[in-house]
Amino acid sequence: MKYPLTLKVNGETYRLEVKPHRSLLEVLRDELDLTGTNDGCRTGNCGACTVLVDGAPIPSCLMLALDAEGHEITTIEALSAGGELHPLQRAFVQRGAIQCGYCTPGMILSAYALLQENPRPTEAEVRRALVGNLCRCTGYVKIIEAVLAAAEEMASADVGSR
């Protein structure tokens, strides 16, 4: 048996019918073809499936799709809307913070959520914010550098625009 579900993802509203045991991750990937959200450990330990729910990063493998009703979901696809990379994405590319790339969407969304709350984080704050996102290539140094560089760029762009 399927249940009706109205899901808001990246500003679009989708009317779906889903089985109750499907996770938000499965519905994003399999029903909506939003395959930027990666499927990792399925236990909430690795962070590859990170999405934002009302701006807060969560592991989408642990949320039932039906539980996401009424919330605004943001996936990695939204960050480069219009074909332009987000400063975080650009910094990851430029600083070699992407190796195999599997953790990258989750890393970037966790970093994005951090910078929304705290536009000029310290290195320690970046590390704490990314605790739940594992990089099995172990490229953490570059990742942290990239987040700090993007923060600086975004903050100075923000000052310039005022």
Partner: protein
């Protein structure tokens, strides 16, 4: 995961009726970090899931008339960590929440879920017990309150009978000149289950020289969180000298009833109860940075 029926009731009464009607195979859903994982890997086989998140009032942090606080069972660990009210009145809880899981997990996991899963290692239990918290339980026969100390019956076992829900935690008004700390021993920097957890709460006299009251509660070293009155009594009414602090730490270690498992040997757990209790007391007495 296997198929289950799903309900998202809008009232507490409706949720309780659903749980009663569907019997033992029906599970309430809060943050889902435990339930969804256990259902996916077959450790639980829910036939019915009753999502509690559409019920208003379960996720409030509300001051009460007596100066205490009502902490809704569905308040997330992230909300506890960043709540100004928590930080001001019960900094011990905000500090504990920040030591749990990751940002991602804290955004989902709830205080009620942490308690109702009743893992012996549940981090929220020792500090809440130290603070004198009460569990507010609502079931088919109405509301009852139980001291959180009595809420845990064993690993995965609580005071809740089928059809009953933990709806809130009641905290008594914060007491003056009280400082607390929760120390958690894990092998990594974060994202790990406590090998040992120790909550210590001291209420000082006006000169801040003598403790008028002391609470020591251990986690992960017994089937349930363990309060250690015989260690507390050493600390009350006399200067908190190093000798007394060491004696309290020894008594806490002796009281622990740890087991061997994949995370740690029982021997090591007992040793670490002593070490963490000593460190917690040093920290509270000297204001030294937490180690």
């Amino acid at each position: 995961m296997r198929f289950f029926e799903y309900y998202a009731p809008k009232t507490l009464d409706e949720a309780i009726q659903l749980l009663v009607r569907h019997g033992e195979g029906a599970y309430p859903l809060a943050g889902g970090t435990d339930l969804v994982t256990k259902a996916r890997y077959g450790h639980l086989r829910p036939r019915v899931i009753v999502n509690l998140k559409r019920i208003p009032g379960l996720n409030d942090i509300a001051p009460e008339e007596d100066g205490g606080l009502r902490l809704g069972a569905l308040v997330t660990l992230a909300e506890i960590a960043r709540s100004l009210l928590m930080g001001e009145r019960y900094p011990l809880l905000a500090q504990t929440a920040r030591k749990m899981g990751s940002v991602l997990i804290r955004n989902l996991a709830t205080v009620g879920g942490n308690l109702c899963n009743a893992a012996p290692s549940a981090d929220m239990a020792p500090p809440l017990i130290a603070l004198g918290a009460e569990a507010v339980i609502v079931g088919p026969r109405g509301e009852r309150r139980v001291r959180l100390e009595k809420f845990f019956h064993g690993p995965g076992q609580t005071e809740l009978r089928h059809g009953e829900l933990l709806t809130a935690i009641r905290l008594p008004p914060p007491r003056p000149r009280t400082r607390g700390v929760y120390l958690k021993h894990i092998y990594r920097q974060a994202m790990d289950i406590a090998i040992v957890g120790v909550a210590v709460l001291l209420q000082f006299d006006e000169q801040e020289a003598i403790a008028e009251d002391a609470r020591i509660v251990l986690g992960a070293v017994a089937p349930t969180p363990l309060r250690v009155p015989e260690a507390e009594s050493v600390l009350i009414g006399a200067p908190l000298t190093e000798d007394r602090r060491l004696e309290a730490a020894r008594r806490a270690a002796r009281a622990a009833r740890p087991i061997d498992d994949t995370y740690s040997s029982a021997w090591y757990r007992r040793e670490m109860v002593g070490v963490l209790t000593r460190r917690a007391l040093e920290h509270l007495v000297s204001h030294s940075p937490e180690r």
